[in-house]
Symmetry: D2
């Protein structure tokens, strides 16, 4: 299943641009890591919020896809940033809270890793839907 | 004011990576454009949802910053994707709905432009806060 | 159409408990009014946030139902409170931003009316779905 | 602390109208129960979504207040309904994910209890702020 997930990720040019890596992918959850290089920062030296929200969005989509199948998109999500991200990489861990036939409600915590320690930098919640059931983000 | 906004945008390496351009920046609103190149796509050829949410997040931050001042971050936002984005560029248009002393609630519509026509591809709503008042996304 | 909408509202015991009234109901939008009586307040004398979110949620559902048909539910929504509500009544005005076959993305502004003037007290955004397509709030 | 929390809840006329009861209230979390009587339903016999969102909103506020102090309001929240609620009562369990000086990001799961079993009916995430720091819901 991880092999399949990594193939999907590798077929997303934007995920390749961000060097995103799928660390884990099992039924009901997904874990995505992004190394923090210079190009992903904002003006104060922290990782740009857009990178954090990409990680949350994509991890949510993979978690949803782990129970709904391959053709899924994020229909909507919400993110709260709780701490500026500064460190070596971020890890987005998403899990399925509830899955129906055509959609799954998922949750994702994003951690930043620095000097061996991890701290929460954002938390997200969203709806993943099967393609064709509803409009959605082609994540 | 547009000159100041463009300088801020140019100082964000991630915004430079995405070729984001500030089209308009006045008190109470901001407009951000991103040209749709190959690297910003997902596996089905549409623009990746993470690019759309970056555009919404950053336009929200600029709109909030237009009334709160330079040192602001996105505290939280929510986005609904309504249509896969396929075209030449996306434009995120954000406006301030309500501004207090330390935070602003803003709304953003993201349009995709194709063959001269525009259609809504996502809509977002979020809270922008002054730095130091609360944690937030360093967008 | 307004007659149909009012019949639906009258069949919701909770809406009756809150004295909710449908002021307008046309294709693509709905307007719901709630008079502010003592029982709807919180400890500081303002209208309770739960009443404001009920109004937003229900107006969103009616707006979605105006384009999707009678059997709809709110799948999810997000609300930002921008000002404590103090006055004679609140009015929630919801409109459809995008409608597909099975779901509609809607937006709602809630105003409080006091001494003849209106001010924004909350703004919301959410997804309305046809019953049976997905789980959702039985609003 | 539970005594203090119950006194606050009892001073909210709307919470009294809904017969809300604070089951637990410790630093970092709160648990709110609402018995499901006829008046809280919608037209299909399920509990109205507005009651579920009230429970989530208020539990989030209490959780935030448990770390920020008494004078707090919900600034914003998002809720996903995952299952129509039918049963004897709902319980909203909220926890603090991250607390700063002036705001806390909290999460809440709402369960419906029926015939001795519990199932998730909604999940929410939001920001609680100290009064005076920002506008917010007077929950």
């Amino acid at each position: 299943m991880l092999t399949w997930g990594r193939r999907v990720l590798a077929s997303q040019p934007f995920s390749v641009l961000l060097d995103a890596e799928l660390l884990a992918f099992v039924e009901g959850s997904a874990e995505l890591r992004i190394p923090l290089r210079e190009e992903l920062k904002q003006q104060h030296g922290f990782i740009h919020g857009g990178v954090v929200s990409y990680a949350a969005d994509n991890a949510l989509t993979f978690a949803g896809g782990s129970v709904l199948g391959q053709s899924v998109v994020t229909s909507e999500f919400k993110i709260n940033y709780v701490r500026p991200a500064l460190g070596e990489f971020i890890v987005a861990r998403a899990t399925v809270l509830h899955a129906g036939k055509n959609q799954a409600v998922c949750r994702c915590d994003v951690y930043v890793s620095r000097a061996g320690g991890e701290s929460l930098c954002a938390t997200a919640q969203g709806t993943i839907v099967r393609l064709g059931q509803a409009a959605g983000s082609p994540a």
